[in-house]
Each structure stands twice: as structure tokens, then as C-alpha cells.
């Protein structure tokens, strides 16, 4: 069938799509949780304050079935109360702040070395797929995606570890004179 075209998320999704604890994918206080944070930049090197990032990943046990409840609601007030600590949903959603910064807390993905990422933004007519590869888990020689990339392109997909449980991952929607553009993916 002929598919429905994409359109930009626009500037006004901020009161509709982000939800409470959207970046808290890991159960509260879990000792194995890891943090990923970074900035989204445009082709002039300016931070993008109106980007929306979604994460999808396997559970720590490798299950890709996910679980409902990312937007778990209070049945009385209707408010989003965050995920329960039972059942790993594998899904997260965070907007960038005024500095173009985002952060999330999740569990190490089971069976793969990466978190799957979709980027939406005002000005972006069709979302982009990329991946956050976690350095401790990644073998750049055997990974089917990384192995085929030039080193400077590959580097854009590798999060940088700052300590054991904190990672930095920036997203460049467009390269500039000094910075490599993030590798974005097509699936078909």
C-alpha cells in the first residue's frame, strides 16, 4: 500500500508528546542503571532546543517484546505517574532543553551493544534513525553496522564513557567544517 508521508513534529509538541519520567527507563535506584546525555546540534553548530529523542532497546535479559506502561496513568487523576518497577518497557522519550541538551537513564541492553534512537525536530520533515553504541559492550570489528563504516563516521555512533555509568552522546543533524555529521540509518 502507498504509505502516509511524514511531516515535521513542528514547534508545539512540547505539551503533548514528552511525558513525566520519559527518560527514566531504568527502575528507580537500580544499581546497574546507566546514564546517557548529550547535545543535539544543527549544521551551524548551534544547539537544537526543540528536538525530541526516542529510545527503544531490549530488556537486560535480551527480550525484545517490551512491556506496556511507559506512560502509566493514575486512574483517578489521569496524570502520568511513570513506569512501574516491574516490567521493563524498553521505551523512552525526552525533549532537548533550551541548551539542546537531553539525558536519560536506562539499563544495559541485553544481547546488543546499542540503544536504538529516533530524532524528531522542528525543521526536520522526516525523523532520523541512529544508534547509541555503548563503549563497554561494543566490538567495532564484528558489529555488522560499525564494521562497514570509515573510522570518523563510526566514531559518531560511539558514546563516550565518563566514568563507569555515565555516557556522552551528541547528535549532529548536519555536519559543519569542524564536526562530522552523525551517521543516520535507513531500514528497508
Amino acid at each position: 500500500m502507498s504509505t502516509t508521508p511524514s511531516q515535521t513534529v513542528g514547534p508545539f509538541y512540547g505539551y503533548a508528546l514528552p511525558f513525566a519520567k520519559g527518560g527514566e527507563i531504568a527502575p528507580a535506584g537500580h544499581p546497574d542503571a546507566l546514564a546517557v546525555h548529550g547535545y543535539v546540534y544543527d549544521g551551524a553548530g548551534a544547539p537544537v532546543p526543540d528536538a525530541l529523542i526516542e529510545i527503544w532497546q531490549p530488556a537486560p535479559d535480551g527480550s525484545r517484546r517490551g512491556a506496556p506502561g511507559s506512560l502509566r496513568r493514575d486512574p483517578v487523576t489521569g496524570a502520568v505517574i511513570g513506569r512501574s518497577d516491574v516490567g521493563f518497557t524498553g521505551f523512552g522519550r525526552v525533549g532537548t532543553d533550551a541548551d539542546g541538551h537531553y539525558e536519560l537513564r536506562t539499563m544495559p541492553p541485553g544481547g546488543v551493544p546499542y540503544l536504538s534512537v529516533i530524532v524528531f525536530a522542528r525543521g526536520l520533515l522526516h525523523h532520523l534513525h541512529t544508534r547509541i553504541y555503548l563503549p563497554g559492550l561494543t566490538d567495532t570489528v564484528t558489529d555488522p553496522l560499525l564494521a562497514g563504516l570509515e573510522p570518523e563516521r563510526r566514531a559518531t555512533l560511539l558514546a563516550v564513557a565518563h566514568g563507569e555509568r555515565l555516557h556522552r552522546f551528541d547528535i549532529r543533524l548536519q555536519g559543519d567544517a569542524e564536526h562530522e555529521e552523525t551517521v543516520f540509518l535507513a531500514f528497508d
Binding site: G10, F12, Y13
Partner: protein, 256 residues
């Protein structure tokens, strides 16, 4: 002093891009549903699209061939009715918008999350950064959610959104639209888009809609007025079906 960027100039660019696309298809280029990410008539796209080609990944083990799931804990019964979220009723023309979410093989996408957001009847979003001097409506937020049913159907009750100005160029106006966010059974099927209303005179002027340079693809973003969906003495009905792009792993379809 720079010359103001007029609608006339933007409309010329829109026509140029559409002609270039039509010409390319005539000589064998593939038809495309989706907009080109670098579509200059929409000025904000210029610095926000990749300059390098996407890297094609053919990996049957890719995590993106599966996707998040949602359930009854993620929505409440009133979420699909944007006219009942406040003490009073919103102003505007009450409408029902319904349709089916399908994958590209025509199979219904069941039990998945559909999210919508929109301006009120005056063309104003309940968003801090919307400074359009049109009235806010204390009885309308403009956010809705629902899960698709076993036929892939969704339904929202709302009011028809108003057109609103924006600053792409001088005298730029967005046609009335409802923003839609959709999940398939795989992350590769994710879609965010906008639904438009038939007969809106602003459709031809809007570089965001016109970024879809394929005529029939663009028409797929416009809902159909459906008189059988209109409720006597109550509301008008629109039908809009959505077909998600992108592959899904076969193993995940088994259990659903």
C-alpha cells in the same frame, strides 16, 4: 536592507521543487511518499537535515525491527475526547476524526498508541511558546491519545483547529491541521505526521505540506469529509487512514 521573503517567492520555489520531482520520476527516478529532508522552501529545514546519505542497514537481527508496546495503563477512557477534558466545552466546530492504521501490506496495526495535538478553534496552541495573539480556550488543551482496536481503528472527538500564522516568510499561514504520532509493531514503522482538511484554501501555499512533492502522496495527508460519520445535531465527521512505512521482523508478528 534585505528584501522581505514573500509568499510569491516561496510559491515559486515550491513549484520548482515539484517540477524537478515530476521530471525525475518521468525519467525513471522512484516515486517518493516522504518529503526530502532538505526542502528549502521550509526554511527551518536548511540546517537541520543530513548532508550525507543515510546508511542502509539490512540486518535481520536489528533491534529496530521490533518496537515498544502500549496498553490500557497508558491511556485513560477520556483521552480520545478532546472536548471533555475540562469543566466546560471548548468553542469551535465539533468534529469526529476516525480511520485505520495499517502497515504497508495492508494489515491492521492493532493495540498501538496514537497521539494527537492541535491548535484550538482560533488557531492557538496551549503551548507557552505560541505567541499568536488569538484567544486561548480555557476548555481546550488539544492533546489526545488512544489505542488502535483489533481492526487498527482509532477515533478522536475534538474541535476543528484554526489556521495560524508562522514566520517562515511574510504572511505565512499554516492550513488547519492535526498533528499525529503513530507506532507500528516495529520501531522502523514509527511515524509523526499531520492531517489536513479537504478544501482548505491554504493547502497550496504551505511549504510544509508541499514538501511532499508527489501529488498523490500529498493527497494522502488530507482527510475525507464523510457525511455518514457526521452525527445529527452534534458533529461533523472526517475519515483518515494511515499507512505506516518500514519493515517489521516476522517473528514479532507471530505473537500478536
Amino acid at each position: 536592507m534585505t528584501t522581505p521573503l514573500t509568499q510569491g517567492r516561496i510559491s515559486e520555489e515550491i513549484a520548482e521543487r515539484r517540477e524537478a520531482y515530476t521530471k525525475a520520476v518521468t525519467v525513471g527516478a522512484p516515486e517518493r511518499s516522504h518529503p526530502d529532508r532538505g526542502y528549502a522552501p521550509y526554511r527551518s529545514s536548511v540546517l537541520r537535515h543530513p548532508g550525507k546519505p543515510l546508511v542502509a542497514l539490512h540486518d535481520p537481527e536489528a533491534v529496530e525491527l521490533s518496537g515498544p508496546v502500549f496498553g490500557v495503563t497508558d491511556v485513560t477512557a477520556l483521552d480520545h475526547d478532546l472536548t471533555r477534558q475540562h469543566q466546560g466545552e471548548p468553542l469551535g466546530e465539533r468534529i469526529k476524526v476516525t480511520g485505520r492504521v495499517l502497515d504497508r501490506d495492508g494489515r491492521p496495526v492493532r493495540g498501538q498508541l496514537v497521539e494527537v495535538w492541535q491548535a484550538n478553534a482560533s488557531g492557538r496552541y496551549a503551548h507557552q511558546r505560541d505567541d499568536h495573539p488569538a484567544p486561548l480556550d480555557p476548555n481546550f488543551t488539544g492533546v489526545g491519545r488512544c489505542l488502535t482496536d483489533d481492526q487498527g481503528a482509532y477515533e478522536f472527538v475534538t474541535v476543528k483547529p484554526g489556521a495560524y500564522p508562522w514566520r517562515n516568510h511574510v504572511n505565512a499561514w499554516r492550513p488547519a491541521h492535526i498533528h499525529f504520532s503513530l507506532f507500528g509493531n516495529a520501531f522502523t514503522q514509527r511515524l509523526i505526521t499531520q492531517m489536513y482538511f479537504p478544501g482548505d484554501p491554504l493547502l497550496a501555499y504551505d511549504p510544509i505540506l508541499q514538501s511532499v512533492t508527489d501529488d498523490s502522496a500529498r493527497e494522502r495527508l488530507v482527510a475525507a469529509y464523510d457525511h455518514d460519520l457526521s452525527t445529527p445535531e452534534w458533529s461533523l465527521g472526517y475519515r483518515w487512514d494511515i499507512v505506516l512505512d518500514g519493515p517489521a521482523a516476522t517473528w514479532i508478528e507471530e505473537g500478536r
